[in-house]
């Protein structure tokens, strides 16, 4: 069963009805949606960006925008909030705002078609233009980005683009020069924790302080991930504590990763590799997640000299790169563990 866009609006509408006090609270709601800031002023910890954007709203015009920053720092939320400030709620918003994710659309042709179809029609109501929010724009190839630049120019009378990316350097210069670039900084741990505490109290979730710390550790500055983790953990257990958080995060606890590193450094490669396979198969961790965690933990090891750390940084970085090149993440990580064993044997 597939539903069209108009049905989807119906459903969203019905769910918002369910939120009303006394409504039948059948809808299962994601907290990332429920607690998504509706107004620019409510966006967490991105004051400079917000102030600048409010200036555009006041003038009633915006340029093309490029939001650069890590995941979960508020890029999408800011884009939606900005669109709401322009279009208000209801139909004006829905018909003038479109969201696309470049990593989920197959090829530039899909984007071009969708963008063209959306941009061709005049803005609905008295809106001066439409807004297209293209997320993960840096996942597009350079060729695709050049094609996108053409599209941006072609329809710039009718449409403003908000491009979001993790790294602005991966966006081609012609696009960068046509956009106002805003950087979103990773959220400080304290800001994330404060938000988590607010949601937890509001939802009546019991938690331990270490539980929130664990969420902050796993989330690495990504507020969306943090909130999703809080909701998942609270659905599983009565009290959100650290053990539960690591379990639902599908992530090894820092201790498990440290143990694996120590096994490798001691030269017990077989057990180190067994731990690795366990993390990947039983926990379902991706090779990318593991290499990042390995990096974090190795750099924090107190008993390794800086010279050794520098050498390991090279090996970890090389492994990280080969992950994207190779076809079997586990082989690359096992090779890295073997390197650790060799370095550990010398140290």
């Amino acid at each position: 069963m597939r539903i069209g866009p108009s049905d989807r609006h119906l459903i969203i509408f019905r769910e918002s009805l369910n939120e009303e006090p006394g409504g039948m609270n059948l809808a299962f709601e994601l907290w990332i949606e429920k607690y998504r800031p509706k107004k620019l002023d409510d966006v967490v910890d991105q004051k400079e960006v917000v102030d600048a954007l409010k200036g555009f709203v006041a003038k009633g015009s915006i340029p093309h925008l490029l939001f650069a920053g890590p995941a979960g720092t508020g890029k999408t939320t800011t884009a939606i909030a900005l669109a709401h400030e322009f279009f208000g709620e209801g139909e004006t918003f829905r018909r003038n705002y479109m969201e696309l994710n470049a990593s989920d659309e197959r090829g530039i042709d899909t984007i071009r078609t969708k963008v063209k179809d959306f941009a061709r029609a005049m803005p609905f109501g008295d809106a001066p233009f439409k807004i297209i929010h293209l997320d993960e724009a840096d996942s597009m190839t350079a060729d695709a980005q050049h094609a996108l630049r053409r599209v941006m120019e072609l329809y710039s009378d009718n449409v403003r683009f908000i491009l979001a990316c993790n790294y602005s350097s991966k966006i081609i210069e012609p696009i960068q020069s046509r956009t106002a670039v805003f950087r979103f900084n990773p959220l400080p741990d304290e800001a994330i924790k404060e938000r988590l505490r607010f949601i937890a109290e509001n939802e009546g979730v019991s938690y331990e302080e270490e539980g929130l710390d664990a969420i902050v550790y796993v989330a690495e500055g990504d507020l969306r991930r943090a909130i999703n983790l809080l909701q998942t953990a609270s659905a599983f257990g009565k009290v959100v504590d650290a053990t539960l958080v690591y379990k639902v995060a599908g992530i090894a606890s820092p201790q498990e990763v440290r143990d694996m590193i120590q096994l490798a450094l001691k030269g017990d490669f077989m057990r180190a590799r067994a731990t690795l396979r366990d993390l990947m198969i039983t926990y379902g961790m991706s090779a990318e997640d593991i290499v990042r965690q390995l990096h974090r933990e190795i750099m924090a090891l107190p008993n390794l000299s800086d010279a050794v750390k520098a050498e390991l940084a090279y090996h970890i970085g090389e492994a990280d790169f080969r992950l994207t090149e190779g076809s079997h993440g586990d082989i690359q990580l096992s090779a890295l563990l073997a390197k650790l064993a060799a370095v550990g044997g010398r140290a």
Binding site: L30, E99, Q231, V248, M270, I331, Q332, A338
Partner: protein
């Protein structure tokens, strides 16, 4: 080709044992079968006979030999009969009567029942039905009776095990057949065929026939070429060449001439590196080559440039093999191990696909990419909906998802234990 048409009966049929005495290498099984035959003759109520064991060990031959000893005619029930109930009941109705043509009594043979594990329940109920109606002797054969689906059948039958044949037994049979057929082959060729057969006499006779008829040029290379019948043996030889041998180029040569999936080779080498190489230096060096070989695998897969395969194989064989020579590590015999990763990970391909499809559909709804849905939101939905199908269906309906797809995606999302 004309030669082949003159000799139309395959040797495996032509030289099939005619009586139980001619079945080789299965002394215990034959004894058990004789006892069962005596009981049938004495008019006792007997359980169906389940003959089980590896392929080519004489199960079907034994079934036909039994019929001959009892002077009965075999009615063979195959997979499609079992599926076609109407046909089957007709078949079974006439069972108690003697054959119209020969006047003989009849015996039923269900051959290779484990080829249809999903029908095991049906077969079991058919067996019960037949046993209730009339005391017709029944014989079944199977490779692996411990297959899960066959549990019910095991209880209903008398089980007789056929064991893998020793190569010397296979060799003796091959020599006899070669003599009867007037084929002159060197001893070494017969020996190679026998050893490669892994105790499967039928396979060995087929190989012998292939070599004898027209493929004589294969005789010299028989050991290598028939190797493809025996993937595992080749892999072990490759492992020995890489980890124990000094001539690393022989190992590389094997990867080109052995019919094994290159990915499998990589997996086998990786599994066994730490079992053989004990010094961290050798281990790291060998793994460095494996890592590079894997990078090449990635390039091959992405660009479909199969000519790069030679480089990948050279890194995995020459590189890993020479690591011990570079560091001077002495290696000794180890028991090579099957790559456990393959077993553990192979189940997840299909489930990843379902997860991706559902995630794509939910991504828009939550203003995120499908990756984020798969990693963060599906586990959350699973936690919130729990094991309540009604909730899952309701959620699917609300979000325009196929309930079955959602259910399956949720089942495959990482288990939180």
């Amino acid at each position: 080709m004309s030669e082949a048409s003159l000799e139309r009966i395959p040797w495996t049929e032509k030289h099939r044992p005619k009586s139980l005495d001619e079945i080789v290498g299965q002394k215990k099984a034959v004894e058990a079968i004789r006892k069962w035959i005596e009981d049938v003759r004495a008019g006792k109520k007997v359980k169906p006979l389940l003959l089980y064991g590896p392929p080519g060990t004489g199960k079907t031959s034994a079934a036909y030999a039994i019929a001959r000893e009892l002077d009965m005619e075999i009615v063979e029930v195959n997979a499609s009969d079992v599926r076609n109930r109407e046909h089957l009941s007709k078949l079974l109705e006439g069972l108690t009567a003697r054959s119209l043509f020969t006047g003989k009594r009849r015996m039923i043979l269900f051959d290779e029942i484990d080829a249809l594990p999903s029908e095991a329940r049906t077969i079991a109920s058919i067996l019960r039905e037949i046993l209730k109606r009339a005391p017709v002797p029944i014989v079944l054969t199977a490779n692996d009776p411990y297959e899960q689906g066959l549990a019910q059948l095991r209880g209903l039958t008398t089980m007789v095990q056929f064991t893998r044949l020793r190569w010397t037994t296979v060799y003796a049979v091959l020599r006899r057949i070669a003599q009867r057929e007037g084929v002159r082959l060197p001893e070494t060729a017969l020996k190679a065929i026998a050893q490669n057969s892994k105790g499967d006499l039928r396979a060995a006779i087929n190989d012998l026939e292939a070599v004898a008829k027209g493929s004589r040029e294969l005789v010299g290379a028989v050991g290598r070429l028939f190797g493809s019948r025996d993937v595992e043996k080749n892999i072990f030889e490759l492992m020995r060449a890489i980890f124990l041998g000094k001539n690393c180029r022989y190992a590389t040569w094997m990867t080109m001439n052995v019919d094994v999936d290159p990915d499998m080779i990589l997996r086998w080498v990786e599994e066994n590196v730490p079992l053989v190489y004990k010094s961290p230096k050798t281990l790291a060096l060998a793994y460095e080559y494996l890592s590079r070989a894997d990078v090449f695998r990635g390039r091959i897969v992405r660009t479909q440039s199969w000519r790069l395969l030679a480089y990948a194989n050279e890194m995995a064989t020459l590189g890993v093999c020479s690591a011990k020579l570079t560091t001077g590590e002495q290696t000794g015999y180890v028991r090579f191990s099957f790559p456990s990763w393959v077993k553990q990970a192979s189940a997840t391909v299909q489930s990843r696909r379902t997860i991706r499809e559902v995630s794509l559909q939910l991504a828009k709804r939550y203003h995120v990419s499908s990756k984020v849905v798969a990693r963060e939101i599906l586990p959350l939905i699973k936690a919130a909906l729990g094991d309540r199908p009604a909730k899952v269906i309701e959620f699917a309906r609300r979000h325009g998802l196929d309930p079955e797809a959602l259910q399956s995606a949720l089942e495959n999302v990482r288990e939180v234990s």
